[in-house]
Symmetry: D2
Subunit: 344 residues, 4 copies
């Protein structure tokens, strides 16, 4: 079988770099065009020095012509830019993967409220673990990669909502590493500001990933789920640790909760329900396409508490994207994706 060729638009950014790192380990996909905007013309090595295998490759400008002729095109671009370029890539056989937000939200009103501007429409949502989603992705030629936080939160809570074990009044607090904010040169992202400090941001229901979490959990629950979401920035480059809680439905026992999670996750290759008593750490998933999950019943407070760790760049973006592409191309879902992390 011939290798299939993939292009990466946004190759000089963090998501683009992680796509390249993972694709270099993939036995059926080979890297074609690497494109970007302001860094076009420079070698990839100047932006991704951890990838010596691609150091001499010259970054091209992101244009429809440059991205044409590939089997898969990954768009790792700032929000709002992927819809524009995707609209010019009308090759229907190409698998086009939007790692940005442009095609995630089904509700135009939510798009308008949280992102603004014209709504680009919805593409098949690239979270294979969502009930029923694998079959959709196998037939997909357009894939909307979930946001990193919604990936974590949805994986943490879908088993509870699928079985009606939690009330739809979710509270999530999640810590993320700085790579989630990209390479933008902002004062609050300087190492001097970040190291030794945890800070809050996007508090009060204003973070753009909020409606996406609600969309996913509402679909699973079959009724409207509200999420009060607070993100925080932690002094690390990678990783999300999300604490996701919801009121337990009356009569729920710890054993029934555990059973539901074991049952929902037993065949999931990339979501590990940890042994009882072991709690997730982001280090468990560093560089891996995995989620480490634990759930318990806080009987005192009457809440389901699920805690999950992922690598925001791997399972949360690039790895999750490749997992969906594997399905779309008819390849084994886990092909080329690391199960084991890099630690300590």
């Amino acid at each position: 079988m011939t290798m299939q060729r993939v292009a990466i638009a946004g190759a000089s950014g963090y998501a683009g770099g992680e796509l390249a790192r993972l694709l270099l380990m993939h036995p059926e996909l080979e890297i074609g065009a690497l494109t970007a905007a302001s860094s076009a013309g420079s070698p990839l090595g100047a932006h991704q020095p951890h990838l010596p295998q691609l150091a001499a490759r010259i970054i091209q400008e992101t244009t429809p012509e440059m991205l044409a002729g590939h089997d898969v095109v990954f768009l790792a671009l700032p929000h709002g830019q992927s819809a524009a370029i995707a609209a010019q890539l009308d090759e229907s056989d190409t698998v086009i993967v939007d790692c940005g937000a442009d095609h995630r939200l089904a509700d135009p009103a939510a798009w308008a409220e949280f992102y603004g501007g014209a709504h680009a429409g919805t593409w098949p949502y690239g979270l294979p673990e969502l009930p029923g989603q694998r079959d959709i992705l196998k037939a997909a030629r357009r894939i909307a990669v979930p946001g990193c936080y919604p990936t974590a939160v949805t994986l943490a809570l879908f088993p509870a909502f699928a079985e009606g074990l939690a009330e739809p009044d979710v509270v999530v607090v999640a810590a993320t590493g700085t790579s989630g904010a990209g390479k933008a040169l902002k004062p609050n992202l300087l190492g001097s500001e970040v190291m030794g400090s945890v800070s809050a941001y996007g508090v009060g229901g204003v973070h753009r990933h909020t409606p996406e979490m609600e969309q996913n959990l509402s679909a699973v629950a079959g009724l409207p789920v509200t999420v009060a979401f607070t993100p925080m920035l932690a002094p690390m480059s990678r990783g999300i640790l999300a604490t996701c809680t919801a009121p337990a439905t009356p009569g729920l026992t710890a054993a029934a909760l555990r059973d539901a999670y074991e049952s929902a996750l037993k065949d999931e290759p990339f979501v590990t329900l940890l042994p009882e008593g072991v709690w997730p750490a982001t280090a468990m998933t560093y560089g891996a396409n995995t989620a480490a999950l634990q759930v318990t019943l806080d009987e005192r407070a009457g809440r389901v508490v699920a805690v999950i760790a992922i690598d925001n760049l791997t399972k949360g973006t690039a790895g999750g994207a490749i997992q969906s592409v594997n399905l779309a191309l008819g390849l084994p879902e886990g092909l080329g994706l690391p199960l084991n992390g890099v630690a300590p």
Copy 2:
């Protein structure tokens, strides 16, 4: 006026070291005995090399005799040890300050459930910002220093509960630096494990600080408040960032919420309500006896969301302890306590 002499039991630990650092800056308190258990006999410099002014002082063994004859005795000892030694210090004029948990909880059942063993009884609670607490502390000769998490959570939510703006169903998720766990040699506290990783622990209502938070907020609210508390360990030495949420009472507006916080905090020297739109970072309070607080109304989810940053060793332990001692000694409440942090 003569300086008053203070002893520190537990001088080789992190809380003891922070007490010493702050006391060296205090104009009316001078350091007498420095005691500890296993490190007795060695110079303080071997354990607290950041305190050159005390480097040559020899650590004594923690005994009633060694602690006798001081105006103030700080007990910075593992839980369970302070009650035992305090019982042997029967000088009624001495201000005895328990930086551990032994005298915090009023409810023997909560003590039994979360700590086990005999309940030592309750001492005046060293959180001057709690309504009515300053007067109690001015007359106190025994002070129970609050836990670091309860300090943060109580300061973040008391204005809301004092005014009946929130329902008593609290969800708190807080990140802490590693110094909160002390110098215990545990594998999960090794630098290799901690750096680059955020991890959860004590999940599901089992953390010992939970009943203390409930005790404080219930007292303010005048009705039982339940707290679902999840702590996490972040890759930094100091600091707590706590996100504290509760359902808003019907009809609450953002403006009314802000007003209540401004009103409750306008005369508090150590709690800063940040300008609107600015969110706390632990770096704002590094080494300072301050809390940086922000509050908002998540109208989408109908919740009050208060986020607070403190330094767990300063306002969360040693600084808060000295603040209460200042009151007990009739000194200005803020004497000798740093208002400004060390950053970046």
Copy 3:
């Protein structure tokens, strides 16, 4: 005695913030004008949120008029800007302190080679520990604050060179925290790039602090000293750890080396020669105006090895500056300066 008024130009930067933090603790100096360039007009709290005591102060534009009328003016400006503004401040009684490089180098050729442009001339060098320098500073009205690396390296090696114990062929490798690079928005200073990584920069004799080290050590040695200097960036906000080595002169013994250091440093309030066998860590000096120093003789390799830790913002910049100002104003040299650090 009336407090003397000081102005800080560059108050929104890291050096300016550290000056403000320290001056707030100083009993004889009070803060007057706070000025800056692009951040003029905004409150200081937006840039230095760790300084709540100054949060509401509005930053003024850096102009001669704004800086006039103070007893002391600190210029914490990018290299090349302080000479320009200083030239316009012709009040001869004012103590003007250049925290930048403009007035450090005596040799115009070295200035031209390493900085370029016109040489502004030399001011009294603000390192009181240099033999003979205290008396010069007591009479000074202009002070050139040493670079952070030269402060560390000079303190580490001057006792050896003053006594002729080392050959003038120095090799220095030093790790620094990111605050030394300031708040400039450069990709390599982003938290994502810095955390978890140590990197080299300015290698091969090109770092601008090189001629300043050579100037200092040559003056002490009385003969030309060459320094091969390599800096590296470490994942921390503050601190310099410098390993400074030079060939031992023939016949030097470890005991004689130790004696020379003890003798040279025994009356220095801010330089601690650690007990034998204890090696410096930057955490020993975090936020303090101190240096922690150790020296040994590598008998195998025949080299003197001195290792020193300082806080680049405190002893390395702002604290060292205030130490010199204390001398110039006839105040006790250590007035208001912290001897103890913040740790852990």
Copy 4:
């Protein structure tokens, strides 16, 4: 071809974990016995939670019987233990790989001085890049894996000494992450102590890796080379950045130096000579079996300055070990070894 079976003794430690992580990606080697001492009987997941593929594997006790019957045995044990167990493994066909120090030093006197106790003798040295070493390793059934620091320093300087471009008076200062110290529960390795701080240790020619560096460079140079080595601990889990300098031989030009390095390294798959002007960062090699190297001539000081970054656990231990094993087994040298790192 059948997979060859490998055993790992010391599987619960950091080196053992890295061996397991890499072997899981190796197409021709499969993991057999996993053994350890105190953690025998527990599942590997309790010690290496980043390796979910092996989480349920039970750790066996390290005994000759348990290690028997494998094609390759990796001994990732504390110094002194590998020689004892190796002596009991007398299967001459098995490739036995000592990741400890027991078989590195040829000189019994150096062993006695730096390690003490009986000298176990010398095994073929597992650094394929050393001139002539590949052929030795192809025939080897016993392999002594180099120390992490000697790996870095030897790779950085061998091109200079092989061509006689440097004088044999080397000064090395290297920063390392904490994983190099293993999982030992020592106070100075606690996260609270390590984060935010760089510290020196093993200063003055006493670090055990010193004679190993001298052994390697002397062999290349053909004359005795002395190394003055100072290590320091940096706040990161992984990585070594070593600055290696030596006096340039008279008449050396920058161009000749560059040429010599390009020539020596042009066919080395795992050592990247960076483009001129780019300096190494440990992040370039995180989790990869690579070294990132740069060299320059400090003309001012007359020294060759080579700076190199490696991951101490990968190229510095486990990856380097597998690279040598590949040679010993007749496999392609780079089989299964990652060329690209994980960043940011």
